[in-house]
Symmetry: C2
Subunit: 338 residues, 2 copies
């Protein structure tokens, strides 16, 4: 009961060779009608299903793509996975998911696992700890196409599907300025990540373009709910506290909002807040949270599509950078100041 039916079982039962069974199953002209019928009937009765592992070995095609992701339990990342899975499903691919839990060491193991398992391509969003990409680039040298999404190494000729973090940050900051904010703080991501650098740069540029001086003490690295609380408290105890906060993601934004409310500081009247990512969060806070929608699902779709393209036909020349459009979702946390 426990072992799977193989082509040999059918062959033995019918007193024919395995080759004949194989050909009969795929309607090869060399095989007689009767033999085909006999084989197909028995196969159906025994519920024969080809062993994908054997096929993978024979064809060097595993029909599997790998995903390395910092943490699945984030609205944004799980949206991406959802997009990846849908595209993969339609193309007949399976998806192997590995989470690095934001650890460089684990990311290395994950990459090796994908390599050993001969996945046909890999989608990667790097961990916060990752500064060296040899373990990933090695995959590509090894014939396993690689597409980065969201968190991609900067200055490297690799395929990536990302958003224009600089522009998005620029737009978010500009929006705050246009609603009348003049003292805008930024809760930033670690400056080891490209997204952290780009978003900070976009923020600075927007300030500069509108003649607002950049103040270093208004930028704090804080990219989680908890860290945002401390950072916000510190900001508000400054001699000249900010009147707006641009947070690097929604969790951080909500952390800031909650802290402000606990300090009885009105949002958005006293301090406006804009986040980044537009998870479900943004809809359910009070006030609802303005945010930059990153379109995670679409990012997953595009990244998977690009990867499948690379699998079909390896890169020729330059790698591609695909930008996913972002857009400002303006809600209550950035109402115009009067």
């Amino acid at each position: 009961m426990s072992s799977q039916i193989t082509i040999k079982d059918i062959a033995k039962a019918l007193n024919i060779s395995a080759s004949t069974v194989s050909r009969a199953l795929k309607d090869h002209p060399d095989i007689s009608r009767e033999t085909k019928d006999a084989v197909n009937n028995l196969a159906a009765k025994l519920r024969y299903k080809p062993n994908a592992v054997a096929l993978s070995l024979k064809n060097s095609k595993t029909n599997t793509i790998g995903v390395i992701i910092p943490e699945v339990v984030h609205f944004f990342f799980s949206s991406v996975i959802s997009g990846i899975e849908d595209v993969a499903y339609d193309a007949g691919y399976n998806v192997m998911v590995c989470q690095s839990n934001e650890m460089y060491s684990r990311e290395i193991i994950n990459a090796q696992a994908l390599d050993s398992n001969r996945v046909e391509g890999a989608l990667v969003s790097i961990s916060k700890e990752t500064h060296d990409f040899a373990h990933l680039l090695y995959l590509e040298e090894n014939g396993i196409p690689l597409v980065f999404f969201d968190r991609a190494p900067e200055e490297l000729d690799v395929d990536k599907v990302i958003i224009d973090d600089f522009r998005a940050a620029y737009n978010a900051t500009t929006h705050l300025i246009e609603t009348g904010c003049k003292r805008i703080a930024h809760l930033a991501a670690p400056q080891t990540l490209g997204i952290g650098i780009q978003r900070l740069a976009g923020y600075k540029k927007a300030l500069g373009d509108h003649g607002i001086p950049y103040r270093e003490d208004w930028v704090i690295v804080a990219d989680s709910f908890e860290l945002a609380g401390d950072a916000t408290r510190n900001l508000m105890h400054l001699p000249t506290p900010p009147d707006a906060i641009f947070a690097v993601n929604d969790m951080t934004a909500v952390g800031a909002m909650k802290t402000l409310q606990r300090m009885s500081i009105a949002v958005p009247q006293k301090v406006a807040i804009i986040g980044f990512s537009a998870g479900f969060f943004s809809d359910i806070t009070t006030p609802t949270l303005s945010s930059v929608d990153q379109h995670g699902y679409e990012m997953g779709v595009e990244a998977a599509k690009l990867l499948l393209e690379r699998i079909e036909k390896p890169v020729e020349g330059k790698h591609k950078t695909h930008y996913i459009d972002t857009h400002l979702v303006i809600r209550e946390s950035t109402k115009r100041k009067s």
Copy 2:
């Protein structure tokens, strides 16, 4: 460059046989020191990695477990995946993730894919459409252990890791009663799902035990943010509107809360709300949302552990039902009425 290094490549380069290379790599006593060194050095230089596909075929061990889940992009489900992935990682297993997108037809395909890929076990949470389980049970008949989590078929002798939905609903409802609510509505899950039935039953029982009559018009099937809005409006337009809502999950609870606030009905003063699942949501609404914590991560951990146990040693006799503890997380949306 593109093809992977095999044991044969090493053998050829060193003018020895593949068997010797294999043995040298695993420090077999039959092989001389020098040969071992030569093999290991070359293997390291060529970055040889065993082909997991070939090993899978040889050993009939894929070191992969499959997961079928309705949708990854839910806090609860992605928490479960995270737990599964962590356990699998520690045990040297890979995780293949399939989402059914709540479709029965796709769940069937997913099951077949896992079967073909010879995963060593499967973790399943069934879709809303699923009433027949043959496609899943077939896996187990086929030697692929099966563990259901959260959404499991009722009345079937299968392994499952679930919460005691009845008790949890009973406790949640009782909590509402104890805070002084007397007219408690329930936004329910489809009564096709076991969790829907059990939670409704627990709700009824709690009412009965406290001498509160059950009213059919206070129970509406609505298990999403959007549906909750309509349902809540309808409830509040009833001749005698409820003074509390027990929602089948947090999204639904938040939908209700938002609608009430839009109707200028104070939460919890006029209407208390309790949700189910304790996602991040609950922390960030205003007021914060009381909820039943389902411990998704832990459920993933326990389900994966049970599955690995079954893989090691197939079921003997009865299947197991593992209950994950739940607990009420009481926040602001169910403050005592005065």
